[in-house]
Symmetry: C2
Subunit: 355 residues, 2 copies
């Protein structure tokens, strides 16, 4: 570690590394973690000194508030290795600022920049050998914060733990993705916490997603909870619709996560001369466009797979398969985006940050 960093971070060395036990060709997403993690606790109204230390279990009281009141937020981001063995994070300041927005909404303390950003750099630097070269390989980064204070009274905790763990990854989604459009269940309320990356949002999605899986759909596209007429987002992705040659995606709101991939794709599409309109697409409009042939593509956008093409959708009793197309916007945008992420093409946006 650099001496500048040593004054900001404590460091506890691991005795051994697990890296040689890992089969990097056959990774399942989110199950293997690197040797170190970053931990920083908040107590008595202040952040303690962050520590980088061996990945190890947490010891928490059974009454810890995270277990009872769901005060827990997270981020999902990635780092990529270029051909010169340099490692780059993608728009980490976006995740940092979203993390702190989530923190405010869940009544948790904001994490200082030196803990989040410098912490990420230092931790990833230490674990550089876990990041493999080549498109498709990446290091998935999971910053999260949980309420560790004890007591079963429904009030915000006074103690928190911020932690970052790292997991080497290959691409997340695979195969044809068929989606079910929600007509009863919802993921977020107006004035709720849908725009926060809050743990509780995901727990509510599992059951409706399981029902969809049982009917042969991989994902649910959520609609607004009041009318179920506006298409909003998918499980862990924002959603784009291509009607004729225009891309549409829902505006962010209280109910929708302000995805980093979504906003990057909007910028990239514009640069590539693709028309983008940020507005709600209605379910009826989608069905009609599918029927009259103007609906060309639907794709999800998220850190995991960058873009994930959707091959068809079910709405109520009707399943509509999308035509296969050549030169899809989704493939083009994915190519352009990953070229930036892996430093194959010039990053004219200044999105990549060296570790």
């Amino acid at each position: 570690m650099s001496s500048d960093i040593q004054t900001k971070f404590d460091f506890i060395k691991a005795n051994t590394s697990k890296i040689n036990e890992v089969d990097f060709e056959n990774l399942t997403f989110g199950n293997v973690f690197t040797d170190y993690m970053l931990v920083c606790d908040f107590k008595n109204g202040a952040w303690e000194k962050p520590v980088i230390k061996p990945y190890e279990p947490f010891t928490l009281d059974p009454s810890a508030k995270v277990f009872h009141y769901g005060q827990a937020i997270f981020e999902g981001m990635k780092a990529y290795k270029d051909e010169n063995d340099d490692v780059w994070m993608f728009r980490p300041y976006e995740n940092f600022s979203r993390f702190n927005k989530s923190a405010v909404r869940l009544c948790m303390p904001e994490v200082p920049e030196y803990v989040f950003i410098d912490g990420l750099k230092e931790l990833i630097n230490l674990e550089k050998s876990w990041v493999k070269k080549g498109k498709g390989n990446s290091l998935y980064i999971r910053p999260f914060m949980i309420a560790i204070g004890s007591g079963v009274i429904a009030q915000p905790s006074t103690q928190y733990r911020f932690c970052v763990i790292l997991s080497p990854a290959k691409s997340y989604y695979s195969g044809d993705v068929k989606v079910l459009i929600a007509d009863y269940y919802s993921r977020a309320a107006n004035g709720g916490i849908g725009a926060a990356k809050a743990a509780g949002n995901y727990s509510g999605q599992f059951y409706p997603t399981k029902l969809a899986n049982e009917q042969g759909f991989q994902q649910v596209i959520w609609t607004d909870d009041a009318t179920h007429t506006k298409l909003e987002e998918a499980g862990t992705m924002n959603v784009f619709f291509r009607i004729n040659d225009t891309l549409y995606t829902a505006p962010t709101s209280d109910r929708i996560l302000d995805g980093v991939t979504r906003k990057s794709l909007i910028d990239l599409a514009k640069r590539e001369g693709i028309a983008v309109e940020v507005r709600s697409v209605l379910v009826d409009e989608l069905v009609e466009a599918a029927k009259n042939g103007s609906l060309k593509e639907i794709f999800g956008a998220g850190t995991a797979a960058v873009v994930s093409p959707i091959s068809g959708f079910q709405y109520k009793d009707e399943y509509i398969e999308l035509p296969k197309i050549e030169n899809s916007f989704s493939a083009h945008l994915k190519e352009k985006m990953t070229n930036i992420q892996y430093k194959i093409e010039e990053d004219t946006f200044g999105w990549t940050v060296k570790v």
Copy 2:
């Protein structure tokens, strides 16, 4: 332990008891726990043998799903000691069935009756000396379940922990309770998880409640998220409104917790000859009733305080203080209910279950 129970539960004896260190006259809610807890893990598709063992911390992987995806549910119930030193639970089968409804909605396994109900009986029996006699004293019971499987992929866990911890309690709410009626924030979506006692629901309430606290209100009364016109429930209480001599309370729905106190008060009010109507009360209707003098009482209903009278409410820019009244329904119903709970009056409903 009875030998019947020994075959169903493992038992690990504590070396010492903390009971003599506890000041039972000055308890703050939910901070002191008894010597034992019940733990039962779900692994490989089945519940393991439950164990009653000393209260102690959990050791969990940093990637445990409860930290990332909020798969966590709980119940809140109480036991009371009568004058013969017998301890009684209040309607535990209601909590048991609500717990399993929450489990289904969060894609978690249902807990078998012998684990939940027999487990409670056995655990509380062991901790009988922690339940003090006299109205106001009780044992707060916190069954909960968390996802303990590891892995940062947004999918339901395959491993869970069911646990029960016990906390001696005195009354929860105190003083005047002034409430703010929500006109922007919400706690639950249509088709969401508001009807489940899910940890994630509470994390979303903290921030709006903090804003209300800063304005001098102890609680928020939530309204429906789509229109903010229907009065729904408070932080951890259902809500009743008395207009003239009729009590109104919102019907349960996807957005509202089906409170045990609420349903008990409805039955009790009917028995006492008080008219009860289960229907949504509109904010406008409340303001009008307050102004024309027909609004007599508002009170919260929940396990913590049974009933908690509300002295006034703020809606947008207007604060309306309720007149003080004699012979309030809330005081009468609270008296009747606690008389049943403490076995002072006959339990004609069959609500109390001996430990």
